[in-house]
């Protein structure tokens, strides 16, 4: 008995001494990821890393392929999560203390103001990056088969990103927040413009219902604040995390990033300069890859022109991640997140402006709430979602501005898009619109005919003309998408910098008179 006890005890002692070694072994289950093989298994064995494929095509590693925009968006999101959680320690989502808690974050919480600045800038970087990322995917025709589904996921991510940013806007409970959300809520109510015009609001008030769902009350108050807070810190982050996981994972399942058919030949020169491919024979990598469907995957083409994701892809990703952090930190250093006066329902901001990315819409809202708030956004969202289903061509996939017309068409479209948007806006600003000419005109007419719908019409006609001229849907899509971006930029800039009190036109905010 004694000897057994002794051996069990010594075994226990040995086990105890062996804890660090075993801990190391169970963590790095397949050995230290030093060789290509252990690195591959490392990726496979890790739930987060396995969203990547084990090997990455040289084409995907080119900076010009994606400009790192997806990673920038992801990095910005991670920054907002980290800074956002830090802010949550101090923020109190109640109308009587919310503003005060932001002041405390500014003045008392160590580096609190800096963290809030980072949070704000990362959120803006994320919005910009997600729009540019969408443009990249569009211009490289990366939405095409088999990536249609992932385009739709990205489309969802765009919407959730804007929703996250918008819900965060209310939380400081200052004048800026209060009146921006008031505008937002009125936009949600804008279907009333239609229901009023045809006289059915009394029994079918979809606008009022939307507004009430958004605010939980008939005015912006405590209910709205709690609602926005919950959406901002829980529901939308969970939604975006799930969508992101699917988005990343679909990249692998769809055979990596979209690349041109002749990508292999074009990366040949880079291969020579790279870290040697196949330092040793992989054992099972391609058995798994063989299950992946699709003609653009590595199946049947051999592993040439790919590099191990670890470390090549990871270095690229980490570099972009840190660059994004640096950009957000630097912006946070030079520019403070705004915090205006305590929200005061009795003193309307004039002009009351929505967050910048909605100012283009607000510009249209100034003519017709329904067109700017519901009509055009729905058109844009539906249009963006339909892109991969309407353009089913194959020419130019993976190429910047690929497809009939190419860069030349896009160039002309930029010119056309900018000039037509500026002209229509300049006309409306200089000469007024229907309401100024015929004060008694029914609002329904303005809902149908306003600078927003006129621009939409011009762009639509232009893209139909392109489809016929190039005999290609892709050409029409290139033109329409480019015009859409140009219109977005022009309207946003006008709404941001050139609109003052009462939404009147001013050349510079310095001309706004105190009111």
């Amino acid at each position: 008995m004694a000897s057994v006890q002794q051996s069990a005890l010594s075994e226990f002692w040995d086990n105890l001494r062996g804890v660090p070694r075993r801990l190391y072994e169970v963590t790095f289950r397949n050995g230290v990821p030093k060789t290509d093989r252990t690195r591959s298994t490392f990726i496979f064995g890790n739930v987060f890393l396995h969203l990547h494929s084990v090997r990455t095509h040289l084409w995907s590693l080119r900076w010009s392929t994606t400009a790192g925009l997806g990673i920038i968006t992801t990095a910005a999101f991670l920054i907002t999560v980290i800074t956002g959680v830090l802010l949550m320690f101090y923020y109190k989502p109640y109308t009587d203390v919310a503003y005060q808690s932001i002041k405390d974050i500014h003045f008392v919480v160590p580096t609190g103001r800096f963290i809030r600045n980072i949070h704000r800038w990362a959120a803006n970087v994320m919005v910009v990056a997600v729009i540019l990322h969408m443009a990249r995917a569009f211009y490289t025709a990366a939405y095409r088969k088999p990536r249609e589904f992932n385009w739709l996921i990205g489309w969802g991510l765009l919407v959730v990103t804007l929703a996250l940013s918008f819900t965060g806007y209310l939380l400081p409970w200052d004048q800026l927040a209060y009146w921006a959300i008031t505008i937002g809520a009125n936009i949600a109510q804008s279907p009333r413009e239609i229901t009023d015009a045809i006289g059915i609001t009394a029994w079918f008030d979809i606008g009022g219902l939307q507004r009430e769902l958004l605010l939980g009350s008939d005015k912006v108050g405590e209910e709205a604040l709690i609602r926005f807070y919950l959406l901002h810190v829980m529901i939308l982050p969970i939604a975006i995390c799930m969508l992101m996981a699917v988005h990343f994972w679909r990249i692998r399942k769809d055979g990596g990033l979209a690349r041109p058919a002749d990508a292999d030949e074009r990366v040949a020169s880079e291969r020579a300069q790279s870290y040697p491919v196949f330092t040793e024979q992989p054992e099972k990598t391609y058995q798994l890859a063989a299950l992946v469907k699709g003609k653009t995957s590595a199946v049947g083409k051999g592993p040439e022109n790919t590099l191990p994701s670890m470390p090549h892809l990871f270095y690229a990703e980490l570099a972009v991640l840190m660059l994004t952090v640096l950009i957000c930190l630097a912006l946070a250093f030079v520019s403070d997140a705004p915090l205006k006066e305590l929200a005061n329902p009795l003193v309307p901001e004039n002009p009351a402006k929505a967050p910048w990315y909605f100012l283009g819409l607000q510009e249209i809202v100034s003519f017709s709430a329904f067109t700017g708030g519901i009509g055009i956004p729905m058109l844009c969202i539906i249009g963006l979602g339909l892109i991969p289903f309407l353009d089913r061509e194959t020419a130019g996939t993976g190429e910047w501005f690929g497809g009939p017309g190419g860069w030349k068409l896009v160039r002309w479209s930029i010119l056309f898009g900018f000039s037509s948007s500026i002209l229509v806006e300049a006309f409306a600003i200089r000469f007024g619109w229907l309401r100024e000419w015929f004060p008694s005109v029914p609002q329904l007419v303005i809902t149908l005919i306003n600078p927003g719908t006129v621009l939409t019409g011009i762009f639509a006609v232009y893209s139909i003309w392109l489809v016929r001229r190039y005999n290609s849907t892709r050409a029409g899509a290139l033109g329409l998408f480019t015009c859409f971006l140009c219109g977005f930029i022009v309207l946003t800039v006008i709404g941001t910098y050139f609109r003052g009190p009462n939404w009147d036109f001013y050349w510079s905010p310095s001309q706004w008179q105190a009111h």
Binding site: K103, F107, F114, A316, L329, F333, L339
Partner: protein
Amino acid sequence: MNKNKYLLLISSAGVLLLLVIAAVSENFFKEWHGIQASAKNPEGAIESRLRQVVNPNLRTADRCVTCHVGMAPGEQIASSLKVAAAHKPVFHSPSEMGCTVCHGGQGLATTRDDAHGTVAFWTEPMLPAKYAYAGCGTCHTPLGVPTSGVLANARKSFERLDCYACHRVDGRGGTIRVGGDVTGMEGPDLSATGIKGYNAEWYVGHVAKIASNEAWKNAFREIPDHERAALKVFLDTRMGASRLVEAKAEFNTLGCAGCHKVGNFGGDAGVDLSLSGFKDPNQVSFANVPGEHKLENWIKQHFRSPVSTVSGSQMPALGLKEDQIDLLTMYVLSLRRRTLPDVYLPKDRVRAMRFGAREFVADGEGIYAAVCTACHGASGGGTRFPGLVPNPSITNPDFLELASDEFIAQTIIKGRSGRPMLAWGERENGLSADEVAALVAYIRKLGGGVQAKPDPLPRIWAKGDTTSGGRLYTANCAGCHGALGEGRDGPAIGNKPFLDIVSDTYLTETISRGRRGTTMQGFATGSVIRRSLTPSEIEAIVVYLRSIGTK
């Protein structure tokens, strides 16, 4: 791959650098760190940390004492820096009340400009030191403040009678020890007698001392009644903020309440001033305001030239002197009544808000000065401001002779509909019957004591033909009084509330005799430009006038 490696390296180094800079500046380079480093308490250097005064009842957390560390509660701190000096002794302990409740500013802030509130998006900058006592207005409402003349007279009496020799008021005087020996008591401090009260029998006591105490014989003499009345005014108005009381006296003297409401009393022609001390300097136009963009400069310029400061303002330029403007600015800044928890609600505020206590002295003179002066003039002679309805003289002897006390009282109570004259007796918290009676008596006093002539006739007795009366009215009266008596340069004699109380005697006598010192000439005698009217013609005009008044 090397490009990515270098990018990663550089970015990471940059991030590290920025984080280090942020951490260092946060922990070592805030302004208050330097201030606290200069400060010492009896035990030596003080601990460098954020300090604050928290008052949950007032919902304040004032971090001002992080820099003004000498004012931090319960600490004895000395510093070479002025900013860290201790607070001078005041009625309310800063360690209980905090700072912002009196001084304004942003208590939550820990940097100078933010804390002083002189930044964009903070609506309540600190009160300037010069107007510091305006801060009392956050909670307090000095009541029964006399006119500035009465107040100045009271101060003069106090000085002339040399009360300062023994008594201390607002840090001045109280140096003589009667009796010459060190055991003799100096007189009590009288700085807050208006709040804390004082022995009303003080004079009897003082006089008795003359008999019993040899030293007092030289120090004190009997005081005549009117001087004692002035001293009473002085004592009643010692509320610890003498400049604020002076400011309020100025407001009560210029008749501002005739147009402006403060709290629950005043007219509606001007804006309600109850919270004008909280006006956000970021929300007013400084386009025509010289000097720094500060609220006090805006208010001053507004007094000098209302229309150029606020476009569309109806307020006439009152031609005030700079020292008057300074006092009124102080008063306007003091109008910052905050919602207070019951524990901090001062008695004066309760009396004013819940029991309608007057903020001016509610005798005839006080009411007239506070309510009537701006329009009818300090001596009742009427005023005329460009672009506004002229305000009639109410001390004209011809008027006072014809107007019965009842007529004047009813005019004050019911006002004139649609005219600047409000119904002062029918308004919420308006003048009581006693106050109106006192006011009528004071108006007669202003007019040199002219009493109304008894009128044996009934109120309405004139007979005549409306048509010929109308013709005569159009020819003789409409030019000044308006085609329908709506008033132009002359008063609105077709105004219904006027016709409801005026007697025919008043009208016929006024028409036939006119009013001396005005453009209203008597029509019983002719002039070079018109013929005289007969009594029956005058009666016809009165009948016509009554007919248009009923329309």
